[in-house]
């Protein structure tokens, strides 16, 4: 039996093999998104939202699947937003996706800590213009 949520995720985040972005189905995103939802006490949420799509959704042409999702979004933006929240959440914390982020943007795939990043000094020369300005805070008359 096909996994409707997996298809939904593939339509939401289509992947781009040429640029290295994995498809959700390639990284088993449906299971990971369900796990995130389960961790938030919403184990059935994503499948329940997907179940609101038309019968036969799985067999539709991709363009019709996209249209069905757009219809769902237009009809219940809040529920659709929760679907997107978990879809993007699971996708962008996935190690494979973080590696692609690093390759495409230079942002390291590792967590920010404990390594951190180089901390250069502040360039005080940037203040050359504003330092010429006299004080302009508003004084309060003494009583």
């Amino acid at each position: 039996m096909s996994d409707r949520l997996a298809i939904v995720l593939d339509r939401l985040i289509p992947g781009d093999p040429e640029r290295g972005w994995p498809t959700p189905s390639a990284i088993d995103l449906a299971a990971k998104a369900r796990a995130l939802a389960d961790g938030r006490g919403e184990p059935t949420l994503l499948d329940a939202i997907a179940a609101r799509l038309p019968d036969g959704f799985e067999a539709m042409p991709e363009a019709d699947q996209v249209a069905a999702l757009s219809h769902l979004e237009a009809g219940d933006g809040e529920a659709f937003g929760r679907l997107i929240h978990y879809a993007y959440g699971a996708y962008y914390i996935d190690p494979a996706v973080r590696r692609t982020v690093e390759v495409r943007t230079g942002y390291p795939a590792r967590p920010p800590q404990p390594q951190g990043y180089t901390l250069p000094p502040f360039d005080e020369a940037l203040l050359e213009t504003v330092k010429t300005r006299p004080p302009f805070w508003r004084p309060v008359p003494k009583r």
């Binding site: 914390i93 990043y117 901390l119 360039d123 005080e124 213009t129 302009f136 805070w137 508003r138």
Partner: protein, 542 residues
Amino acid sequence: MAAIREAEDRADVVIVGAGASGAAVAWRLAEAGVNVLVLERGGWHAPAEAASTRDDWEWVLQTERHPDPAIRRAAEDIPVTADDSPIRPAFYCGVGGSTLRWGAHFPRFHPSDFKTRTLDGVGRDWPISYDDLAPYYDLNDTIMGVSGLAGDPANPPRATRPMGPFPLSDGMERLAAAFDRLGWHWWPADGAISRDADPLTGRGACNNCGPCGLGCPQKARASTDITYWPRALAKGVRLRTGALVRKIVCDRDGRATAVDWQDGTRHHRTHCDTVVLAANGMGTPRLMLASTCPSHPNGIGNANGGVGKHLMHHPTAIVAGLFDAPTGLPKGPFACALYSQEFYETDTARGASRGYQMQGLRPQGPLATALGGYAKRLPWGADHHGAFERTFGHDVSLTVTVEDLPRADNRVTLDPTHTDDAGVPAARLTYALGQNERTLLKHGIARAREALLEAGAAQVAVTPLSRQAGFHFLGTAAMGTDATAITDPTGNVNGCPGLVVVDGSLFPSAGGVNPTPTLQANALRIADHLLAHHHASLTVAA
């Protein structure tokens, strides 16, 4: 069924809340030998366990570390309902309070912020001046650890910070140059973040990681659990975590004499000379209103019905510029880059009183960018990956944070349909923007857009009022000398001897910048007053 008290003890002073102000007061009093007990409903959050060391750190930031309690769903949170407010509450419960979740942006109020009624005919004057707080600002800076640069022409002169400011990103440098070309002020932000390690306190140096709100494994970003609390505990302060306050107990003369609290199912009564409320501008009026008794049938300090009224936030718009060229990756303290106070002081030509600050925000991580970051959620479908690559590391954002004038209709009340485990009703927030704030926001959004376009932004996205920006709860038990004041100028609650407020509830006006340095300085001032006038003769603890 009536509660059963299982334990009774005594302290000179009981402080409710271990956050920004409560920690400062606990330390100051304990330094002088006062026997202090602090009750904190949350627990400790070890810096070493901060989620910024985890692969899923961005998910944690969106969920269990979210500032909105409705999203975070932490058992220890103060229960709150905010259906009647366009701004969601944002706070954190634990040893360190909301400093556990903040960005450590550390500005001071201007002298004019203390005298808005005198100068502009709006709001309420403080019963003290900037000069009264100046030495306490300096003292607080030494404990919290501040990086920044002296010489800002928008602010009064002050001492050189022990550590220099944080560098700007490429995008922030473009913005700074744009401010210069427009002839507008800007300055590098002060941050309660250590650039340098301090072996004496065990605090490390900032390593520029970015998500300060997750906590800081380096102990570089200040929170009071690593600044005031080690000092306070060393001086003998007793701290009880997981402690839910049930009631402030008053005698037949109306004097506060004890605090009823519980940890789990165990009930306590701690007798004391002074009760200090440091539970923030939402939690403090909640406890005052909930602590009814024959002496205070409408709640403590509420004979005039004023407790909880005049709630002030800092209404905030976010204006995000999207650039064709990269502007820098999400590195560096997210809230400590630069600010402009060009429009901070009143200019009646704007059609409003008072003013606002524009504050530069560093970019957010990949997930936050996809979910909208400071702009719009990225589209799903065919263009998703293209939109991500055009957006991530290509944005510069400005907040526009305006002064909120006090209005009686904006308030904290009790919601009896919802209680915590101690049976205390939830806080209910009722809030609406006033015309002055709307005018300032509109003006500020236009100026922020102008600055970003001058900096080279190809597109600008505007969030006219940030929903998740209710970080500051101010003015709900204001100090003063007139009939509407809830406390006297040193936080003593009118009509309730022995009860003192020290947190942001006291603010008669809100200023247009983050309030933590001001509320901490004011708390230290009040602590010194307590020592001088109430506890001077106490026996020094062994």
